[in-house]
């Protein structure tokens, strides 16, 4: 099992590059993040280190273990009746919007 003294040693050990530059670009695209070219190698290095680190999880035998769905045992998400409870506060909410017109949020044209 994982050694508590090791994490600090782990940091100085050379991290294997698990992820390619292309993979980082793809993850950034999926996450809708524009990265600067200089950021790519930084994330390539650190994400590789993180996935190497979380690879520790493979050591645990979870063959007959159910994934945990809620932090409190026996509880699940509460449901409420499907009725409208909110009042109309659109004007107040739209004060934080970067661009609105006639009560609508404006974005660049999506249909030609």
């Amino acid at each position: 099992m994982y050694d508590f003294g090791l994490p600090f040693a782990f940091v100085v050990s050379p991290n294997p590059m698990l992820l390619t530059r292309e993979q980082i670009e793809n993850i950034a695209h999926l996450a809708r993040l524009a990265l600067q070219p200089a950021e790519l190698p930084v994330y390539q290095q650190s994400l590789s280190a993180i996935f190497d680190f979380v690879g520790e999880l493979d050591r645990a035998d979870t063959a007959n273990v159910a994934p945990m769905a809620h932090p409190l045992p026996g509880l699940s998400q509460r449901l409420r009746p499907d009725v409208a409870t909110e009042t109309d506060r659109r004007e107040i909410y739209q004060r934080n919007a970067p661009q609105v017109a006639a009560g609508l949020y404006l974005v660049p044209k999506v249909l030609e």
Binding site: I24, L35, F51, A60, T62, M68, R78, P98, Y105, P108
Partner: protein, 484 residues
């Protein structure tokens, strides 16, 4: 006045020894005077706080007012405050004026507390040193070259420097307890579901929990009693009555069974910190508690499990920041995709982007089972370990952090070293357990925190154990020289 506890200040207000206006002005002046060095706040609310204090004085003069009437507090800047800037420590939200109050804010307001400021924090609560804040790092009042811990670093530093008697905070992986430990103050992370998350800007929804940082366990109990309770607006809020945490504070500790986590006293724990922890445990023994070693064999996997689950939830929660409805928007977008990508790329800092990408990857097709599902299974194992331990002992005790506060800049280049700072605190979040940190002495001249973890909804027992310890010791009364 600033070294008095909330409980003492409340008595003084009721007896009209001083007014709320005097009290609030005194703390506002301290906040302003130390802001250039500590950087503990993002927004200071001088005028509204003084107006609220005037109103509180009228209530108090008439013999009315709630349990916190006229008392000053600050809110971590991820609690939404109506009509007030709420930044979450991020460029993304540096222009966001919240249209409503978080439930915690509303509850404390209706109990009579007065909000003086919004405290600085790691961006979106992602960090253990307060260095990821868009508004600059907070400094540790015990040594301003050092970090205060994070993510609730502003709240912890402010209480440690007695800029405020108490502050709200949140804890996803240690963000209340770790800064409380590094700043030498008392911090409580309640049971998951005890305090409403409504209006708390979400990081990892199955782990986030609001709580409090104060100088003493008694003050923490005072605030926690008012901020806890069921809220229909939070679907994970638990519908259970809130006990009077103050009533049980003095219960004797004779017969209390304390478990010492074997895994917490392993390599990696600073030797001098360990001495302080062992001395604190000896005090508990003297008070009639019994100590026994317990083992949670899966606990060492809590950090890797956390760094799958938390980023996964973060990547989903932070998808709402799209540059359309609120928050930062990039200039002159070419098309909608460019708007999304550049608004997010510019608005989020480096650590937030790292976690969003980590989460995106572990949830992506082909990796979900290997990472996310696996981590949720390990989380189940860790929870079961705690459950087993609590069938043998009443509470678990050990260090809150492996070392005292470290230097600003020392761990920023390596995220994993930073993540490992929360090695002792993350387990309680994964299992939804209440936990707290109290000061128990100094190592290398810096505060050391004793961590106490209990079964679900045992906040009262934890506060009792902490309060009785604080009756026997004076570590919680220590204030750094420059802030006396």
């Amino acid at each position: 006045m600033h070294t008095k506890t909330l409980a003492q200040l409340s008595k003084g207000l009721r007896a009209r020894e001083f007014s709320s206006v005097e009290l609030v002005r005194g703390f506002l002046d301290r906040i302003d005077a130390h802001q250039p060095v500590l950087n503990a706040m993002i927004t200071v609310l001088r005028e509204p706080a003084l107006a609220a204090a005037q109103a509180a004085d009228r209530e108090l003069a008439a013999g009315r007012g709630g349990p916190l009437a006229g008392l000053p507090i600050v809110h971590k800047d991820l609690f939404c405050t109506e009509g007030v800037l709420t930044t979450c420590g991020s460029h993304m939200l540096d222009n966001f004026v919240s249209p409503y109050d978080a439930t915690v804010v509303a509850k404390l307001k209706s109990a009579g507390a007065i909000t003086l400021a919004k405290s600085n924090m790691d961006e979106f609560a992602m960090g253990s040193s307060n260095e990821t804040s868009y508004f600059g790092p907070v400094r540790n009042p015990w040594n301003t070259d050092l970090v205060p811990g994070g993510s609730s670093g502003g709240s912890a530093a402010a209480v440690a420097a007695r800029l405020i008697p108490a502050a709200t905070a949140t804890d996803t992986g240690g963000s209340i307890r770790q800064p409380a430990a590094l700043c030498g103050v008392t911090g409580v992370k309640p049971t998951y579901g005890r305090v409403s998350r409504y209006g708390m800007i979400a990081f990892a929804s199955s782990l986030d929990q609001g709580g409090v940082i104060a100088a003493t366990a008694e003050d923490a109990a005072l605030i926690l009693r008012e901020m806890s309770g069921f809220d229909a607006n939070d679907s994970t809020s638990v519908d259970m009555p809130v006990p009077d945490y103050l009533a049980g504070l003095d219960a004797p500790l004779a017969g209390l069974k304390i478990g010492l986590l074997k895994e917490f006293f392993d390599k990696g724990l600073d030797a001098e910190s360990e001495k302080r922890i062992r001395e604190a445990l000896a005090i508990y023994e003297r008070l009639g508690a019994t100590l026994r070693e317990v083992s949670l064999p899966n606990l060492p996997l809590s950090v890797p499990a956390y760094y799958v689950v938390a980023p996964a939830e973060c990547s989903s929660n932070l998808a709402r920041f799209d540059g359309v409805r609120f928050g930062h928007r990039a200039k002159d977008p070419r098309d909608l995709m460019d708007l999304y990508k550049r608004s997010r790329g510019e608005g989020f800092g480096a650590e937030v982007k790292r976690r969003i990408m980590t989460g995106t990857y572990v949830l992506s097709a082909g990796y979900y089972d290997a990472y996310y599902l696996k981590a949720q299974k390990v989380r189940q194992l860790i929870s079961a370990d705690f459950k087993r331990a609590f069938s043998e002992v009443d509470v678990l005790m050990g260090p809150t952090t492996p070392t005292p506060a470290f230097a600003i800049g020392a761990k920023t280049s390596d995220p994993i070293t930073m993540y490992l700072n929360d090695i002792y605190t993350i387990g309680a979040n994964l299992a939804g357990l209440p936990a707290m940190s109290i000061p128990c002495g100094f190592a290398q001249g810096l505060p050391v925190g004793l961590q106490i973890v209990g079964p679900h909804f045992s906040e009262g027992k934890l506060l009792n154990a902490a309060h009785v310890f604080q009756r026997e010791t004076d570590w919680h009364t220590k204030v750094p020289e420059e802030f006396k």
